[in-house]
Every structure is written in structure tokens, then in C-alpha cells.
């Protein structure tokens, strides 16, 4: 790649990311620290003096720590077993543990409540009476739900980290007399630490700022919900800005720490794995023992989904103080598809996600090219820049976009034109900002996929084409893109799936029923009395089915490399 082209792409992408990323974030920070024309720390201190905000931040931290810790406990043994042993049904089980990714945890919460609620399935099944399993503060419920939805990310990271370790490391320890379990703690765990920490950071940031689940579980005393509730005062009250700034600083700080601790992504293996891992084949009761954790985790993780499916088929009002709904109906699905909001929400989600994916494909490929194929020094900066959206919570981004939108819609000179609010005012039409929010936040997946593809494709394939007279553009179209197509499709599917599932931006930016995406529609339907919950569940099942298809597709295309997509 020519240096001049590389620089051009670098400058263009940096400028673009600055507008889409730095600008909204600076609006957030400015909103909390730059009030009435001068700098002030009053609101920052205010956040830390207000017991309600303190409690919210503390609870969010508790959620994040609990979720990350629990996810480690769930994912690590599974990954280790998958790496060390072979048993019947392993392929099926290792695919099944990924299933929770097909549903945003907040939709699962609807089903979860039906099963573990005071008058839910579990209490009825075991005759426990009206016992509240979720704890008065619903803390346990939120952590459990988020763990069950997010542990696959950690599992994929751990499996990838394990696969990357040269089996000779383990064999050398075994040769010196170390037992299997001790080898795990002395050799394997230290070597997989970077990968594990990367996944852990991601889960921490996601659960720290998760909005949907606490909202549905009615766990209002956490920072994300407090921010959501303060949206009405966004123009007048600097406190939410200061609160969001604190959340931003903690997330980016954690990301920086993980980068600093494990700067080189992994321990460089001296050699490519020269031997296959000595996978031990298990049979009989040993195989059952190995399969048990998988079955247990999958079963638990599917409970919310099962609850959602049951809710979607239950006649409204028939699943109360019963083990199972007393009567079933397909009516919720018909109603879901008949409802104004659902049809338009499916259309909206498809439109927003497609636009975002289109944007990400172009920008992602350009970034990947500079990162992998150019020699300019700043390519590392570009790589880091494109990964930062992983470290910035969707909630913060959404808040930033809201601030940018309100600033733009009050811009002198254009604000009184008819078309201007249609474009920039989220209260009128959030399309632009939703698409931008989706694109920026899902860009890392696309970049990672394209980078992986380019790294696997030897540059000599391109050189051979130039040598035979193909121009760079021709080479891109005829040689490079076809060779990395599988990666691009996988990246596209992931980007698309996660855009369709996006919660924070969707809940916060879409305020007009006409422009609501699926997730916001599910949330709105859930809040309707009577049939709402069931219709919301039916819509959730539609989303599940759709996401299953895309995730199965991308995991087939990417194979074991799926884990690499979820690296910070």
C-alpha cells in the first residue's frame, strides 16, 4: 500500500471517528464541566455528594463485579474442559453454550420474571409458596441474567486463548511431573491471562452500563437507570452529564489498565503449535461428568429464553400461580405482527442496521487495509482508535449523541428550516443518529474480522496481481476481497445481528413510535398493561429466531476464530 494512500485513509478515518465519536463524548464531558460559559467541578463533586448518585454508581459497580466474577466461574471450567477432553456430544454442547448470545438479556428478563417471580413457575413447581427469589433489590436477578447472557463472550475468549497456547508448554510441565489440575493453575492460566482479561474487561464495561435488564427488573437504583430517567432534563440539568462522565472515565480507565497490563495481546509463542493438544478421549461416566457442566450451564442459560417462549404462547393472564401457562395461544404472535409498532419497528431495525452495516463495511475495510498492509507508523493509532468504541458504553454514546442532536437542532441559521429537524433532531427523526450510533459501536467487529482476513492472506497474492498489470483498485476487487470474503461476511453478520439487538442507544435515542427499533418496541410493549408482556415476548421470539440464523452462519464461516472478534 502506498504511503500517500495510507495517510489519506488515516486522515479521513480519524476525522470521521472524531466527528462521530470524540465530538459526542466531548459534549458529554463539556455538559458536566462547562456550565454557563465557564469550567466548574461543582457538578462532579455534586455527583459524589449526592447519596442517590453514590448509591447508583456503587450498585452499578456491584453489578459489574458480580457479573464478571460469575461469568469467569461459569466460562473458565467449560473452556478448559473443551480444550482438554473429547467426549460424545462435545461439538453440540460447545455450540449450545453460545445460545444465550441470541437474545438481549433484557428480553430474557421478561421470561425470567415469569419463572422466578413471587408467583412464578419455580415456587409453584416446588410448592415453596410466595417466595421472592430475586431478592428485594433484584440485584441477584440482574447479575444472574447478565451473567447468563454475557458468559459466552468470555468462553469464546478463553477457548481462543487456550487454542493459542503451544501444547508443548503443557507437555513440558507434564514431563516434569506436574498433574493436570496443577498444570492448569501453574502453566495454562498464566498463559491465557491476556485473553481472559480482554474478555473480562468487555463484560465488565457492558454490565457496568447495561440499561435494559435493570429497567425490566425494576432495579432503579443503579447509575444507568438514573441516567435514563434524567433524559427529560437533558437540556437543563448538568448532573446527568457529570454522572455519565464518571461512567465514561471508569470504563475508559479500565480499558486502559487492561491494555497497559497486557499490552502485547498475547504471549508470543516461540513456535506455531507443533503438535495437536493431547486431547483425552473420555467415555462412560467420565464423559458424563465432563458433559454435565455444559448441560447445566446451557440449561440455566436457556431458562430465560424458555420463559420468553412460554410467555409468548401463554394466553394473557393464564400464567399466574401456575407451573406452566394454563392455556396456550398463537394469538400473541398474530397480535405482535398486527400491532402498528411491531411492523414499523422491524422495518426500522432492518433499515437502521443495514445502513450501519454498509457504513461499517466501507470504513472497516479501509481501516483494516491501513493497519495490516501499510507501513506508516501511526497505523497502530488507527487500530486502537477503531477499537475504543468497545470501551465506551452505549449509554454514554447515546447520551453524547443526544447532546450533539440538541446542539445541532438549535443551530442558528438552519434550525428554522423545515427539513433540518427531520435530519438532526432525534425528537423528530432519530434515523441519522441511530444509524451513526450503531455504526460506530459495531465498527470494532468489522475491523477485527477484516484485519483477521488480511493477516491470513499473504500479501504476495496482491503483489502477483500488480505484477501482472492489475491496478490497486482492480487487485482489491478481483483478488483481495474474494480472498477475505468469508471474514467479511462473518463480520457483516455480527455487525448486523448486534445492531438489530442494540439496547442502550435504541432506548435512549428513539423517542417517536414511528422510528422505534425492535428493542425499543419490545420495551414499550412490555410496559403496556394486559397483553403487553406476552406480545413483547412474541416479538422477542421473532428476534431470537432471526439472530440464531445469523450467529450460526457467522460461526460456521469463522470457525474457531469467532472468539477473536470479542477481544478488546
Amino acid at each position: 500500500m502506498r504511503r500517500s494512500t495510507a495517510w489519506l485513509v488515516f486522515c479521513a478515518v480519524t476525522a470521521l471517528l472524531s466527528v462521530l465519536f470524540i465530538w459526542p463524548l466531548s459534549k458529554v464531558v463539556a455538559g458536566g464541566f462547562w456550565v454557563d460559559g465557564h469550567f466548574t467541578l461543582r457538578y462532579l463533586f455534586g455527583v459524589f455528594e449526592n447519596p442517590i448518585y453514590i448509591e447508583g454508581l456503587f450498585n452499578s459497580l456491584k453489578i459489574a463485579l458480580g457479573t464478571t466474577g460469575l461469568a469467569m466461574v461459569v466460562a473458565l471450567p467449560l473452556a478448559w474442559i473443551a480444550n482438554q477432553f473429547d467426549f460424545r456430544g462435545k461439538t453440540a454442547f460447545s455450540a449450545l453454550v453460545l445460545v444465550p448470545m441470541i437474545l438481549p438479556p433484557f428480553v430474557g428478563a421478561i421470561g425470567f420474571q415469569q419463572m422466578f417471580g413471587t408467583y412464578g413457575m419455580v415456587n409453584e413447581l416446588f410448592g415453596l409458596g410466595a417466595r421472592d427469589w430475586l431478592g428485594g433489590g433484584q440485584y441477584l436477578g440482574v447479575v444472574l441474567l447478565q451473567t447468563l447472557a454475557l458468559y459466552p463472550i468470555l468462553y469464546l475468549n478463553a477457548v481462543a486463548a487456550l487454542a493459542n497456547i503451544d501444547p508443548a508448554m503443557d507437555e513440558a510441565a507434564a514431563n516434569l511431573g506436574c498433574t493436570r489440575i496443577r498444570r492448569f493453575f501453574r502453566i495454562t492460566l498464566p498463559l491465557m491471562m491476556p485473553g481472559l482479561f480482554a474478555g473480562g474487561t468487555l463484560i465488565f464495561i457492558w454490565s457496568f452500563t447495561e440499561l435494559g435488564t435493570p429497567l425490566i427488573m425494576n432495579y432503579t437504583r443503579c447509575a444507568s437507570v438514573q441516567v435514563y430517567d434524567s433524559l427529560k432534563e437533558i437540556g437543563t440539568n448538568p448532573f446527568p452529564y457529570a454522572l455519565v462522565s464518571v461512567m465514561l472515565a471508569s470504563s475508559v480507565g479500565l480499558y486502559a489498565i487492561s491494555k497497559w497490563l497486557f499490552g502485547g495481546q498475547t504471549y508470543a509463542m516461540q513456535s506455531k503449535a507443533s503438535t495437536q493438544t493431547a486431547v483425552r478421549s473420555l467415555s462412560g461416566w467420565r464423559a458424563l461428568l465432563a458433559a454435565l457442566p455444559f448441560a447445566l450451564v446451557t440449561g440455566l442459560a436457556l431458562l430465560p429464553h424458555l420463559g420468553v417462549v412460554l410467555t409468548s404462547f401463554a394466553t394473557p393472564g393464564s400464567w399466574y400461580q401456575n407451573v406452566l401457562p394454563s392455556s396456550f395461544t398463537g394469538g400473541n404472535y398474530i397480535e405482535a405482527l398486527g400491532h402498528d409498532m411491531t411492523i414499523s419497528s422491524i422495518r426500522n431495525s432492518l433499515l437502521f442496521s443495514s445502513l450501519a452495516v454498509g457504513f461499517d463495511i466501507v470504513v472497516g475495510i479501509a481501516i483494516a487495509f491501513v493497519v495490516v498492509r501499510s507501513t506508516i507508523r501511526v497505523r497502530g493509532v488507527l487500530d486502537a482508535l477503531s477499537m475504543i468504541p468497545l470501551a465506551v458504553p452505549g449509554l454514554v454514546m447515546a447520551f453524547g449523541f443526544l447532546a450533539v442532536s440538541s446542539w445541532l437542532s438549535n443551530l442558528k441559521g438552519v434550525s428554522n428550516m423545515d427539513w433540518w429537524p427531520q435530519v438532526v433532531d432525534v425528537r423528530t427523526n432519530p434515523t441519522l443518529f441511530l444509524v451513526l450510533a450503531y455504526s460506530v459501536r459495531r465498527l470494532p467487529y468489522m475491523v477485527r474480522s477484516a484485519v483477521a482476513g488480511l493477516q491470513q492472506t499473504s500479501v504476495t497474492f496482491e503483489e502477483a496481481a500488480w505484477n501482472l498489470g492489475a491496478s490497486p483498485a482492480h487487485t482489491l476487487r478481483r483478488i483481495t476481497l474474494p480472498l477475505i470474503l468469508a471474514n467479511l461476511i462473518a463480520g457483516t453478520l455480527l455487525t448486523f445481528a448486534f445492531s438489530m439487538l442494540e439496547v442502550s442507544d435504541s432506548l435512549m435515542l428513539a423517542q417517536q413510535a414511528d422510528y422505534m427499533p425492535i428493542t425499543k418496541a419490545i420495551f414499550e410493549l412490555f410496559q403496556l398493561l394486559g397483553t403487553g408482556k406476552h406480545v413483547a415476548a412474541a416479538l422477542g421470539v421473532w428476534a431470537m429466531a432471526f439472530l440464531t440464523a445469523t450467529l450460526v452462519g457467522s460461526s460456521l464461516l469463522l470457525g474457531k476464530k469467532l472468539g477473536a472478534v470479542f477481544r478488546v
Partner: protein, 357 residues
Amino acid sequence: MSVPITIENLTKRFGEKTVLNGITVQIEAGELFFLLGPSGCGKTTLLRAVAGLNEPEEGRIWAGKRDVTHLPPHQRDMGMVFQSYALWPHMTLRENVAFGLEMRGIRKPDADPRVMRALEMVKLADRAKSKPNELSGGQQQRVALARALVIEPQCLLLDEPLSNLDAKLRLEMRTEIRRICKEAGLTAIYVTHDQKEALSIADRLAILDQGRLLQVGSPQEVYTQPASRFIAQFIGETTFVEGHVKAQRNGVADIETAVGVWSAATQVPVADGEPVWLSVRPEAVRLHTDKPDGANVFRAQLHGTIYLGEVAQHAVDLGHDITLKALEMRPKLVARDGARADTRLYVAPEDIQVLKE
């Protein structure tokens, strides 16, 4: 149409490191020219500079009358055979070979016969619809050659094209490559670290080390008249004996060494008293049991014989820590475990090279 390639004062740096240092060389039209040197000497960098895959900091490259120094690679019209072959895995052989013609705007009806002719030339016409990964290493190598040749390039560039093949196939392919180049009258630049490859098929070759061009000449010239000890050692086997010039007459010098005086034909002028090295190649050493004393006859002890049937390799100890290697055809003298003290060796003055550096 083949053109001469002229490289003038070419310098290439990677960061602080100078990989090519003022290379100047002229490659004639239709010539099979070899770049030879140890790994890291810059030979591949030089080839890639000619192909346009890297841009030199200083100097010029001419293809015929055209200055191509800063031309992008796709406008240079130089077919290249890559070390890894770089056959595109998503295209069939036919598509791989047709690609260059397509880039030149040659339509399918005109291109097809040329593609088939190229595949026939490398004896793979029946595999035209296969994908590269269905072929063996040798077959892939031939497709890579066909792909580079079908565009009738101004110049063919070969980057260690045989290094991934087994020994037998390497022998076959190197004569094949020379045949094809000569039939097409191609200018070809061939990079290798295998001296046998270079000696056997090159018209001329250039020896590189640490980014510098050390010597350019025909295989015989470089082998029999190496410019330095480095080259003598790099091409073929040799042993050096240190000494100084005692006297000279009619192009033959007497060289005083630790084991006595040697007569050697000098190819470069030397001054009396000048310190020099004698390069004695194993095949120049003739072993006798009954040779009378005379010029260049020395008593020697034979040991460490490696017996190979048609030939034996001996270590010949002359005393004073000087041990020559000797090659004996139809071997009669064998000293595998012990040593034979009854041997004499003789080296003809014209078989000894006198080196100043």
C-alpha cells in the same frame, strides 16, 4: 519484447538498515542473469525493486529506454514468479493464467488459445479447470511460471522459484526454466542462494553480500577467478593458505607459505612481498604415492576419508595447521580411521587462485 535492464547506483534502506548499497549492473536482453548470495544479502530486495514492489531511495532502474524507477508495479510489464508461487486459491488454473491477459484488455477469444498454449508449455493443459490447491508443489510452480510467461513480459523475474521443491524436481525444473527462457528469448533475473542452480544454468551471475555487488561474470569466470576469499568460499569449496609473494615471472608467482613455496598463476597483478591467500579447491589437489619431489609437490598425511564410491573426499594434512580438502575420482587411497603418512600431493600452478582480499 525482451529488453535489457539497467540498474544504476541503486540504494534501498529499511529504517536505519541499508539493504542495497549503490548497486550498478547491466543485464542484457535475452540473458538469464542470476543474483546469488547468502540469505539477507539483499538479492530479493533488488529483485523486488526491479518489479516495483519496493521503492529505492536512490538510483535508477531502466527497462530498455524507459525509466521505471518510480513506476507502480502494475505498469512495468515484468512477469514475476514468487517463491510461494502466490497462485490465487479462489481461481482455477485457467483463470490464474488468464488474469494478466485480462488486465491487458485482451478479450476471451484471443486470450483462450494463449492461455492453453502457456499451460501446454508447462504440461498442465489437462488440469486447466483445477484449483491450485489440487496440484502438487511442482505443478504449482509450473503454473506460476506459465502465469508469468503468458503476458510475454519485457523481463521475467524469478524469486527462488525452486526452493519449495524436492531435490529431484529441482534438477528437472532448472533445465526446463532455461529451455523456456531461451526459446522465448527472455531477459530473466533469477534470485537464488543455491550456487549449483546458478552455476548450471546462468548466462552470467552476480554475487551480493550485505547489500553490495561483489562480482559479476559468467559461471566459469566467477568459479575460476573469484575476486575475493568470500566469493571463492561461497561458490564451491576451497581452502586458503596464507603467504606472501616471493618472486614472479611470466604470470606465475612464487608464494612463500608456512609449508614451503607454491607456484601459482596470477590473474591479478601482485607486488613482490605482498601478503596474499592461495585458494586451493578440492578437485585441484592430486594425490600420489610415488610422485618425485618438485614444484608444488608436498608430503602429506591423509585422514578422515569420506568414501562415496565414485569419489572420495579426503582431509590432507600438510603440517603447520594447514589442512586441504582433496577430491579423488575412482578412489584408491582410503584412510577412514587411521592416517596414511605415505602420500604426496600436487597442485598445478594454473589451478591455484591468488587472492589479495
